[in-house]
């Protein structure tokens, strides 16, 4: 992700991982909306899991059906057929989303280990959009394995979404006055619409620090302070911070990886557990 001379963020290419799961559909919708807002290009990726192929090649593999709990043979032919179907479906979903926002798009099908392929595919793009959960078996608890890896290891900014993303809902930005936090706030300014409400959480240790960082935030926001609300948040631990975020019912949380007030592990846990879409801004991009 780059910042232009005018201070606006420049997201030109967005990678979105599509595995046809409900969360990946939500991430596609979010990526398309952001791309439409920023006139960016959308790059759709469908990854054929190599582990699945290998498993299908084994002579004894059987699939336990989700809705019947019955065992069915699972061979390579079946696996290939199903993956092709999913790839076609992913391509269609991407095309439809891109057409809706009139944005350029491309689609690729890759084969390999999902998390690592995803990270490498996103390397030359500005943002990686991924669903909170993919097809991890022990699902619906925290982030899925691919999302976890992306949050921790991706070189680009990461958008982790589930259903409910909207640029019209209030946006929460965690701001401590650090360079990373400033970039997060600038990103928020670039994304939000005219009337979208912005909640700026001032992560200062005490009142005087909060006053200082508030002024910095106000400077960055300029005229957009009308739609912004500042909240002094003295807590930097996960449960309290999460509780505060939840009270504003946000449509998106924007936080920088380099927010100095938050420990890295606290930040990852927050991204892992918060129940709204999160845009993790990376300064290295």
């Amino acid at each position: 992700m780059m910042t232009t001379s005018s201070g606006n963020i420049a997201i030109k290419r967005i990678t979105v991982a599509i595995d046809c799961s409900p969360h990946s559909r939500a991430s596609l919708a979010a990526a398309a909306e952001i791309a439409g807002r920023l006139h960016a290009e959308l790059l759709g990726i469908f990854i054929e899991d190599i582990n699945l192929i290998r498993m299908a090649e084994l002579p004894f593999t059987q699939e336990i059906q989700v809705h019947t709990a019955r065992c069915e043979p699972f061979d390579l032919e079946k696996a290939e057929r199903m993956l092709k179907q999913q790839s076609r479906e992913a391509s269609r979903l991407l095309r439809e989303s891109a057409e809706r926002f009139a944005i350029p798009h491309s689609f690729r099908t890759l084969r390999g280990t999902v998390p690592s392929l995803l990270l490498s595919a996103a390397l030359d793009t500005d943002l990686l959009a991924i669903g909170r959960w993919g097809k991890t078996p022990s699902c619906k608890r925290g982030l899925g394995s691919a999302a976890q890896k992306a949050v921790r290891e991706s070189k680009t900014s990461v958008l982790v979404t589930h259903a409910g993303f909207s640029l019209q809902s209030p946006v929460v930005v965690l701001f401590d006055g650090s360079a990373g936090a400033k970039k997060a706030l600038e990103t928020a300014l670039g994304l939000v619409r005219e009337k979208t409400f912005l909640h700026v959480f001032l992560l200062g240790k005490n009142a005087s620090e909060q006053t200082i960082i508030r002024k910095e935030a106000e400077q960055l926001l300029g005229r957009k302070t009308e739609n912004a609300e500042f909240h002094a948040v003295p807590w930097t631990k996960d449960p309290m911070l999460r509780q505060c975020i939840r009270m504003t019912s946000p449509g998106l949380l924007i936080v920088s990886e380099n927010t100095e007030a938050l420990k890295r592990e606290t930040l990852y846990r927050l991204v892992d557990t918060v129940d709204c879409p999160v845009l993790l801004v990376r300064s290295t991009a």
């Binding site: 582990n51 290998r54 593999t61 989700v66 069915e72 696996a79 993956l83 078996p137």
Partner: protein
């Protein structure tokens, strides 16, 4: 037999003396409405209203315009306000069977309160329930429950995953399920590598995977059960939250209606239903999908969502004082019993209990319902439905379209409401007698007949009563007041209308019309108050308006198109009098009656009957003539004549026996050979002994002949012979009275045919002598001579015939 003297002008009109009134203008009267002369009917009404037992409903019978409705309303206006006010009724949703809405009764004026309270409750629920379910505490609890399920599921799978990982086996998600595969350094072992394993190692892996599969299957079998458990817990939580949130609202309402079991029971059901369906209160209109190209279902549809908690007040007696008195002008089945309306929604018809509409029976429940019987009969199925309601003592609303299969949409069967209404039917006598004779239910259901008379005795009290009635009309219709002369004229008109100088008509409508018409002429004449002259002008104008037909007939007579002689004397020819009724007006007209005799066997031939133009009463009258002739002249010798009788220039048929005396006079003239004076006209029926009997329409008949004579010029000889019994019916016009007073026109009251024949021929009828004969030059004597001569001729003729027969 002495000839009766002609009636004087005082005998032919029962004048009402204006000076007899204790007022000079109706303005001095209080204008209270009193209907007199209907004591019998009023007593019946009092009885019928007082009788509270089953079937004692009232049928008020009498001619239209005799004040049936006025009398009833007058009576009920006085009595109904003192009776208890009936309760309110409302329909509410039946939570056990939505097709059968429940009817709830409550004291008068309470139903609207309940309806408003339920509306307020609904508003409260729409605030309280979403508030409860959007609270942080609830959200947290709900999330916890859902997470508990997810946790449980994930935990079980995680455990299995770990167990598998210990054995270097991974659980992998496939496009439609799960599978296990051996892994090495985080990646699935490929087929070649696997094949390179020792057989026992492969067997171990396969065995372990098999066990893991079974474990996974058992977890998956558990998942729906966990889901169900979570759902149940969530449901229980929702119920508890909803019940806790709504209970204070219901509790307050139940305290208000604590003494009313039906309402508190209903409120219990509503509370239960609200808790059960709390989700409806959480739905927002915009959440519902709209169908493209169709108008928005919008507010109405949204409003209707909560109809089940609304109250349909069908009877609201909050403003009723005493028992209700309802007059239903259009007694259709829907207007009587009510209806279930439907709404068109998305091309189908839908309904609910809020669309139940009540009828007149509901509104009149606990009071009185007045209906016009003829209109009731004209409305399809209405009479049967009314009878059913009376018989079953309940009002059951049925959709007519449903009843006859004209609509197949789902409809309602509302709980019937108990009926306690006195039904009063107003109708004509013929209708009452028809129903009484042909409808087996009628006499059971309408046991009280209030028979309204169309006339009343004329006396001073009746005069005052009439004046009071006129005064009330004037005030009601905002007309000019009348002076005592005008009132007297109206009373005289009432007497004329009744056809009896000693009676007064009770036909209120005619009197009301005359008062209004007199007001019109008073305004034209610039009179205030209305005078006797204005009333006379109104009566005359009314006669003139209806005078086209009688004038045409009179014109035809004057032009001798219709032959009526009013001057000469003719044998076997006489002027009869008949009455025609066209619309509401009657008029009299003279008709020429002629008779011819010849030898025969003593029969009188009615030509009218021979050609089927004579009615049975007329034929009867003619046959009576044969009886009279036989009795008077056939005692000593056979009647050897045949006579033919005919109404000349009659083309429309003849009925009634009022011309039978005229026919007898013509016969006696023909038999005796003595001419009848054509300056007279005759009316009256006769019996076999020659007694003259009363007839109807005597005033019109006299006036009909008078008008003709007047046009031709009164000679001072003309007159009319009427039955003496009809003298009391005379209420003749001013001009007739004037002519009688000046001896230019005569009216003879005749009791016996012998009196009449002497006036008509100028020759006495002749009394029977001791030897059985009649004086030679009397009518009877001459008739006997003619008959004897005929008998002789007939006998001689017969002898000649017999001789001829013997010779041949």
């Amino acid at each position: 037999m002495p000839i009766p003297t002609p009636l004087s002008h005082e005998d032919i009109y029962n004048r009402c003396d204006p000076a007899s009134f204790p007022f000079t203008s109706t303005a001095e009267l209080d204008g209270s409405l009193t209907v007199s002369g209907q004591e019998r009917a009023q007593e019946a009404i009092r009885f019928g209203i007082g009788m509270k037992h089953k079937g004692f409903n009232i049928f008020a019978l009498g001619p239209a315009g005799t004040g049936k409705q006025t009398t009833l309303e007058d009576y009920l206006t006085k009595t109904a306000p003192d009776e208890p006010v009936p309760g309110d009724w409302c329909y509410v949703y039946n939570f056990d069977d939505m097709r059968r809405p429940l009817a709830i009764s409550m004291p008068a004026g309470k139903a609207c309160g309940l309806r408003d309270a339920m509306e307020q409750l609904l508003e409260g629920l729409l605030t309280v329930i979403p508030g409860a379910f959007s609270s942080e505490e609830y959200q947290e609890q709900e999330k916890n429950m859902k997470e508990e399920f997810a946790e449980r599921q994930a935990s079980e799978i995680e455990k299995l995953e770990k167990k598998a990982a210990e054995k270097n086996i991974a659980l992998i998600r496939t496009p439609s399920g799960f599978a296990f595969a051996p892994v090495k350094k985080g990646e699935v072992v490929n087929a070649e590598e696997f094949m390179r394993l020792k057989p026992e190692e492969k067997e171990t892996i396969e065995k372990e995977i098999g066990q893991l599969k079974e474990s996974m299957q058992s977890i998956m079998v558990q998942i729906p059960k966990w889901q169900r458990e979570t759902r149940e817990k969530l449901k229980e939580l929702n119920h508890q939250v909803a019940a806790f949130a709504v209970h204070p609202l219901f509790s307050e309402l139940k305290n208000t209606y604590g003494s009313h079991e039906a309402i508190t029971g209903y409120l219990d059901n509503v509370e239960k239903d609200v808790v059960e369906h709390f989700g409806h209160f959480l739905e927002k209109e915009q959440d519902k999908p709209q169908i493209p190209f169709l108008p928005q279902q919008g507010k109405d549809a949204g409003e209707r969502r909560f109809n089940r908690y609304r109250v349909n007040v069908v009877i609201d007696n909050s403003k009723t004082g005493g028992a209700p008195v309802i007059y239903e002008d259009k007694p259709s089945i829907q207007n009587l019993l009510g209806d279930i309306e439907h709404l068109a929604q998305m091309g189908t018809l839908v309904t609910d209990f809020t669309l139940i509409k009540t009828g007149a029976l509901h509104r009149a429940n606990g009071g009185y319902l007045i209906l016009n019987a003829r209109r009731l009969m004209l409305e399809p199925l209405a009479y049967e439905a009314l009878k059913k309601a009376i018989r079953t003592r309940q009002i059951r609303i049925e959709s007519l379209a449903q009843l006859y299969g004209m609509a197949s949409t789902v409809s309602l069967d509302p709980e019937p409401i108990p009926l306690d209404t006195k039904i009063v039917l107003l109708g004509e006598r013929r209708l009452y007698y028809l129903l009484s004779a042909h409808d087996p239910d009628f006499n059971e259901l309408f046991k009280v007949a209030a028979d309204f008379d169309d006339e009343m005795e004329r006396n001073h009290d009746a005069h005052l009563s009439y004046a009071g009635f006129i005064s009330s009309i004037i005030r009601q219709e905002k007309l000019k007041h009348m002076d005592n002369h005008a009132v007297a004229r109206i009373i005289e008109y009432g007497s004329r209308l009744s056809g009896d100088s000693d009676k007064l008509s009770t036909h209120i409508r005619s009197i009301t019309d005359l008062v209004s018409e007199s007001d019109y002429y008073a305004r034209e004449n610039g009179h205030d108050p209305i005078t006797g002259q204005d009333v006379g002008q109104a009566i005359e104008a009314r006669r003139h308006r209806a005078g086209r037909v009688p004038e045409k007939i009179e014109e035809a007579i004057l032009q001798n198109t219709i032959l009526i002689d009013t001057e000469s004397e003719k044998v076997g020819q006489i002027n009869g009098l008949s009455v025609y009724t066209l619309g509401s007006q009657s008029f009299g007209k003279p008709s020429r009656i002629t008779t011819r005799i010849r030898m025969g066997k003593g029969e009188v031939v009615d030509i009218e009957r021979e050609v089927d133009m004579g009615g049975p009463l007329h034929s009867k009258g003619v046959m009576i003539l044969s009886g009279f002739l036989g009795g008077r002249f056939g005692g000593d010798q056979p009647l050897s004549l045949s006579a033919t009788l005919v109404f000349e220039q009659s083309y429309g048929g003849v009925d009634g026996d009022s011309a039978s005396s005229a026919e007898l006079y013509a016969l006696l003239s023909a038999i005796s050979g003595k001419p009848v004076k054509q300056c007279f006209a005759v009316t009256g029926s006769v019996n076999q002994h020659g007694d003259i009997q009363a007839i109807g329409g005597v005033n019109e008949k006299i006036e009909g002949f008078f008008d003709l004579c007047l046009k031709r010029g009164l000679t001072g000889k003309q007159g009319v012979l009427i039955p003496a019994a009809n003298t009391r019916n005379l209420m003749l016009r001013d001009d007739v009275r004037e002519a009688v007073r000046e001896n230019r026109f005569f009216i003879y009251p005749i009791s016996h045919v012998d009196e009449g024949i002497e006036i008509l021929t100028g020759i006495p009828a002749g009394q029977k002598l001791q030897d059985g004969s009649y004086p030679e030059h009397s009518i009877n004597g001459l008739a006997v001579r003619t008959l004897r001569s005929m008998a002789k001729k007939q006998k001689k003729q017969k002898e000649n015939q017999d001789n001829n027969n013997e010779n041949t």
